[in-house]
Amino acid sequence: MSDAEVRGLVDHLFRHQAGRMVATLTRILGAHHLELAEEVVQDALLLALQRWPFHGVPANPSAWLIQAAKHRALDVLRRRALQDRRAPELAARLLADATAGDAAEPTVAAEIVDDQLRMMFMCCHPALAHDARVGLMLNVVAGFGAREVARAFLLDDATAAQRLVRAKRRLRELDVVFEMPAPDDVHDRLAAVLDTLYLLFNEGYSAHAGESPVRRELCAEAIRLARLLAEHPLVDRPEVHALLALMCLQAARLTARTDDAGELLLLPEQDRSQWDRALIARGFAHLDRSAAGDVVTSYHLQAAIASCHAAAPSFERTDWARILVLYDRLLALQPSPVVALNRAIALGMVHGPEAALGTARPLDGEPSLRRYALLPATLAELHRRAGDGELAREYFQRALTMECTDAERRFLRRRLEQVVGVGEAHVGERTTS
C-alpha cells in the first residue's frame, strides 16, 4: 500500500503543521517561550507517532496535533508552577485561546496565518545575521529538523544545530516581540523577510550545493511562505508579488535544468517543453500584480528578466536586447559584481563576445568573486565563442580548481573536453544576435 493511500495525511503535513503550531504557541506563551513551544510541538508529533499506528489517523490530524501540543504545554506549566510565578497565567491564556478550534473556521485560519507572519518577522529581525535568519526561517517557520537544515546548507549536523541554538539565544537576548510590525516599519521589516525568503529559494535553486532532494523543497517552501505574505492584506505589496513572480518563473525551469543522468543543462540546452507551464502562468500573474504602484525593486527587474526567458519560444529567439536593458537597470539599482557578470552575458548575446569580454574581464580580480567558479567559466565561454580556444581552456581549467559541486565539475570538464578536443570549432554554439 502506498503512502498516498494513507488517509488524512497530506504531503508535508507534519512539517507545515509544526511551523504553524510553534507560531501559535509562541504567540500565546510569548516570544521568550519559543523553545517551550518547540518542545511541546515535538512532543505532540511524537505522541502521534506512538498512537496513530494503533488507533488510526484521526479525522482532523491538525486539530489533534494542536490539542496535544496545548495539553503538553499545560502539563509543563503545571510542573513549573512552583518555580515560575507566571506559569498559571500562561496556562490560563492557553486554555482561553481558540486557535485549537477548527482550522476550517475562517477566523481561526486567519489567526493561524497571522501567527506565521509574526513568526517570519521575528525570525528576520534586523539584528540577526542573514545566515541566522535563513536557518530560523527553515527550522522554526517551515518546520525543518536540524538535520534537514544541515543537509540543506551542506553543514555537518552539529554545526547546523549549534547555529540554530545560537540564533535562538540571540533572539532571546534581543527581547523581540511576537507582533506584526507597526505600519511605519512594515516596509523595512518586510524587505528583510523577502531577502530571507529569496536566500532560502536560492539556496535550493542554485546548483552550487549538491543534488540532495531536500534542496528542491527549499524552493517550494520559499514560494509557500511568500504566498502567505502575498495573500495577507498587511503585506500584499507589489514587491512581494515581484519576488513571487521571480521564484515561480525560476522554479518552472528546475526540472529542465538537469538531464536524465543528472547532468546540468544550460539555458540553450534545455528542453523548453519541460518547463512548468502552470508555474510560469502563476509567475506572470504575480508579475502583473507587482506592477501596481511605482516601486521598482531588484525583484521586479529580476522577475522581468526571468519572464523574458519564460516567454521566449527558443534560446535564439529570446529578447536579449530587453534583457540587457533590464540588467542595466538592475546594475544601477544594485551594483554588484555578480550582476555585472550576468549583464556581461546579456551584452554578449546582443553585441557579441568581444563586447562582453570587455566588461567581464575587469571583474577578474574582484575580491568578492575570487571563489566564484562561474566567473572563470563565463570568461571561458566568452573566449570560446570569440574563437580563442587557448584562453577558453585556461579559464575552464581555472574554474575546475575552484569549489563547485560534482555536477558542475562534470559540466566544466565536458566543456573543457569540447574545447580541447575540437579546438576552436565552436562546439554546441547557437548563434547570438
Binding site: 500500500m1 502506498s2 494513507v6 488517509r7 495525511l9 508535508h12 512539517r15 494503533f54 536540524a146
Partner: protein, 129 residues
Amino acid sequence: MSQFLVLLYDNVDDADQWLHMSPEEMQRVIEKLVAWSEGLSAQGRLVASEKLRDGSGRVLRGRGGSPTVHDGPFSETKEIIGGYFIVAAADYAEAVRLTRNCPHLEYGGTIEIREIEPMAVPEQAPAVA
C-alpha cells in the same frame, strides 16, 4: 482461522532516535506504520489494536498471603510493550508472514506473536505438533 496477539516491544535504548527526528521524518514513520495496519485491515486480518500508556504499570504477585503490588515492568527491562495488534491468521506461519514486514522492526523494535486460545470446548490436539 485463529487469532494472534502481536505484541510490539520498544527497545529503551533506541528511544533517542525519535527525539532527533524531524516532523517530516516522523510523518513518514507514521505513514509506513499506518499503511501496514491498513493493509491488514484491507485483507480482513486486523481484529483489534491498542496503544498501551507509557510509563510503569503495576505488577501484582501472589505469594502466600496478600499479593504484593509493584510498579513495573522492572526498571532493568530493556524492552517495553508499546501496544498490540490482534490479527487473524490460519497458523503461526501466516501470522509471521503478516507481521514480518511491520515497519516497527525497521526501528529496532521487537515483535512477539502469541496465538490466542479460543474460548470454546477444547478441541482434540492436532496430530502433529
